[in-house]
């Protein structure tokens, strides 16, 4: 009898739904959060909220200003009839002037508050934030997911685009031996936006930016190279289908040095008549080396170790050296790059006679 009574009472406890459930149609699910600062040094926080209607998706843009980010979001809440649920936020956008002022507050807020997922993407916006966030193209196709698809490997990402998640940025802010590059976006006439380069940080501030080509090198060094990209040179255009790097670090006590070996696998897309493979290899390795030298020079002057050289020294450094890595040791670092080009094939058309001769002269060239 007793247990039957219990059984009758049990559903009361189990079927009463969640404690604080809010229906899905009463929730606003912003896809992007934009943060900038106004003239009074208050944070200006804007939310881009897709609102599905029958067949299309409308964009709603709401913003508020307050001395802290949390407070600004609270003020947005006060203006909205729906409950704001930041859990499905995909992208946090930071205006460039604010990024130059410092990223700490924003990243710390996003990590500390449990309402935002640490795997949301971070990007820096060069154009005006409110225009950027409220914009949408004519047919509204990019209104909803478009923003996050841009950084998704399963959608529109290319190897030139840097990606940074909140937890990765947070990690870079406090980690001694590795930094991160944050993508910079600009508004575009035709599509919603355009990738213009990546920001590099020092002391929790954006200090400089690197070009998309340099970002490509960064992605290769980070092991994030995927997909394929095109390199155009004087004599040929090649499609780089694979790229990876091996690094060797030596001499932390006297002259720290990292020798890197970059192996690129290419297929030839087009070439001028009578071009030999060796010319293409030489041109490509020269191009990459030049890019690498310019990039490392810029990074060293800015104390930003996005290529992860410090990681290679981690086992050799003492506690004090770890702390001093970015500011004292890294600028003195010698870097060297060797490029190995493997031409996998030449597309659907056979190579010309000139090339066959080259093969005969140097059999198995490029293999060591």
């Amino acid at each position: 009898m007793k247990s039957r009574l219990l059984l009758v009472l049990l559903p009361l406890l189990l079927l009463s739904a969640c404690w604080d459930s809010k229906d899905i149609n009463k929730r606003a699910l912003p896809i992007a959060l934009g943060i900038s600062k106004n003239e009074n040094h208050n944070y200006k926080v804007g939310l881009r909220i897709p609102e599905p209607h029958n067949s299309s998706t409308n964009i709603r843009y709401v913003q508020a200003e307050a001395p802290t980010i949390g407070q600004a979001i609270e003020r947005i809440r006060m203006k909205m009839a729906d409950d704001i649920d930041l859990l499905h936020l995909k992208l946090i956008l930071i205006s460039e002037p604010l990024a130059k002022e410092g990223l700490r507050d924003i990243v710390e807020y996003a990590m500390q508050s449990n309402s935002i997922q640490p795997k949301a993407m971070v990007a820096i916006v060069r154009s005006d934030m409110s225009k950027f966030l409220s914009s949408m193209d004519e047919d509204g196709e990019e209104a909803g997911q478009g923003l996050s698809d841009f950084f998704s490997k399963q959608a529109g990402w290319t190897p030139h685009i840097a990606t940074a998640k909140i937890w990765e940025v947070y990690r870079a802010l406090y980690f001694y031996t590795e930094d991160i590059a944050i993508p910079i976006l600009n508004k575009d006439e035709e599509t919603m936006f355009q990738f213009v380069g990546s920001a590099i940080l020092h002391e929790k501030k954006m200090v400089d930016s690197i070009t998309p080509d340099e970002t490509l090198l960064y992605n290769i060094f980070q092991g994030k190279y995927d997909d394929a990209h095109m390199e155009v040179m004087n004599h040929a255009s090649v499609l780089v289908v694979d790229a990876n790097v091996k690094m060797k670090a030596t001499g932390i006590e006297q002259t720290p040095k990292v020798s890197s070996k970059l192996k690129v696998v290419v297929t030839i897309e087009e070439m001028k008549e009578g071009t030999m493979q060796s010319v293409i290899e030489e041109e490509l390795s020269k191009l990459l080396k030049k890019r690498f030298d310019l990039l490392t020079k810029k990074l060293k002057t800015n104390h930003s170790d996005i290529l992860g050289f410090g990681q290679r020294f981690r086992n050799q450094m003492s506690d004090a050296q770890l702390k001093a890595w970015r500011d004292d040791i890294y600028p003195k670092l010698e870097t060297e790059l060797r490029v190995e080009v493997v031409i996998r094939n030449e597309g659907s058309i056979k190579s010309e006679i000139g090339d066959v001769k080259a093969y005969k002269l140097e059999p198995l060239k490029g293999r060591k």
Partner: protein, 360 residues
């Protein structure tokens, strides 16, 4: 079949529910490099104590720890020796349920009142009111369902690891972590084996099972201790990871699987650890009510179990903040060291004296 292996799963489950809670944070706080050394010290210590404890248990067939002390010394000795153990179990229940409630509010439902979530202890009580074999069977089922899930969580978090993060691998020369209070707190994760001595009459425990336990500890549980430290460390690196309150949960938050229907793997992870904790708490309630009944209050065990759950429920509700959880964890250190380290030693001392007296 289940009766023969269920207790091994219970043993593994107990450790999983203990070691992913505060253990990673404690270790990251107590040392900044060579994390394997503190882990190894803890593991070797528990291995030795487990061996000592099981040796005593195997020497007295079919008797639980209470009866062993009763036989070797007297009822009063066991009353004195086991009182701190009961306290230890109480604080264990309170700490486990309260901190997991806190995790649930952090990860899942931030607006849910604590007292409602604390009612989860009711599930444990429900299990504790039934027979011990029911708890063992239930924990076996829970383990079968959830251990694959937790393995999936671990494997999918490998997508973000960077091997150089675990450097420098050489430990600090000074052994300074031995004095760190956080390192002492970390022994919270090593106390899981005590329960075995009390459920002993209900599980097969002879010499072969003793070795099987030691094997399971070395092959399954020691790697789990290493995973709990090295997984977050490889994802974040020492300097950032020491800033997290729950490094393991943060590591789960970084998992990004586009093909998975569910967006957050963290929810699975929290659900799994919570279910393990609920099973372990039911075991703890059962054991504490058994000790209370046999030594202090000879009334029905079910009534005592309800009392234990009520006291822990109220005690858990009295804790207002995470700081107070840490305060309790820190202040429990003396009782914890007595229960985990001194008690098995005392027990084997008693049996040693007893054997000498009987043979002489």
């Amino acid at each position: 079949m289940i009766g023969k292996i269920a207790h091994y799963f219970t043993f593994i489950m107990i450790h999983i529910s203990l070691l992913f809670l505060v253990y990673p944070e404690n270790i990251f706080e107590s040392t900044s490099k060579g994390h394997w050394l503190p882990i190894l010290i803890g593991c070797i210590l528990e291995f030795l104590l487990l061996w000592l404890y099981l040796r005593v248990l195997v020497a007295f067939p079919k008797l639980d720890v209470i009866e062993i002390i009763n036989v070797t010394a007297s009822v009063w000795v066991s009353r004195v020796l086991l009182l701190p153990i009961v306290f230890h179990f109480f604080t264990c229940i309170i700490l486990l349920i309260r901190s997991h409630v806190e995790i649930v509010t952090i990860v899942l439902c931030p607006n849910m009142p604590i007292w409602v979530l604390m009612l989860l202890i009711g599930i444990s009580l429900f299990a504790a009111l039934s027979d011990i074999s029911a708890i063992l069977r239930a924990s076996c089922v829970v383990a079968f369902i959830f251990i694959p899930v937790i393995i999936f969580c671990f494997i999918s978090s490998l997508q973000n690891i960077e091997l150089p993060n675990m450097m420098p691998i050489s430990p600090s020369n000074s052994f300074s972590f031995l004095q760190s209070p956080k390192f002492h707190s970390s022994f919270f994760a090593f106390g899981g084996y005590l329960v075995l001595g009390f459920i002993r009459p209900y599980i097969p425990l002879e010499v072969p099972q003793k070795w099987r336990y030691l094997q399971i500890f070395a092959i399954v549980i020691v790697p789990l201790f290493f995973i709990s430290i090295y997984l977050p460390l490889l994802v974040f690196g020492q300097e950032p990871v020491s800033k997290y309150l729950f490094p393991m949960i943060e590591a789960m938050e970084t998992i990004d699987l586009y093909w998975l229907v569910f967006e957050r793997v963290t929810i699975f992870y929290v659900a799994v650890t919570l279910s393990f904790v609920i099973m372990y708490i039911s075991l703890l309630i059962w054991v504490s009510s058994l000790i209370l009944q046999k030594l202090y209050l000879p009334i029905s065990r079910n009534k005592l179990a309800i009392c234990v759950a009520l006291v822990c429920y109220v005690g858990g509700n009295l804790i207002r903040s995470w700081d107070e959880i840490e305060w309790l964890l820190f202040n429990d250190t003396v009782i914890r060291f007595y229960s985990i380290i001194a008690f098995p030693c005392l027990l084997s001392l008693l049996t040693f004296i007893h054997r000498r007296r009987t043979t002489a």
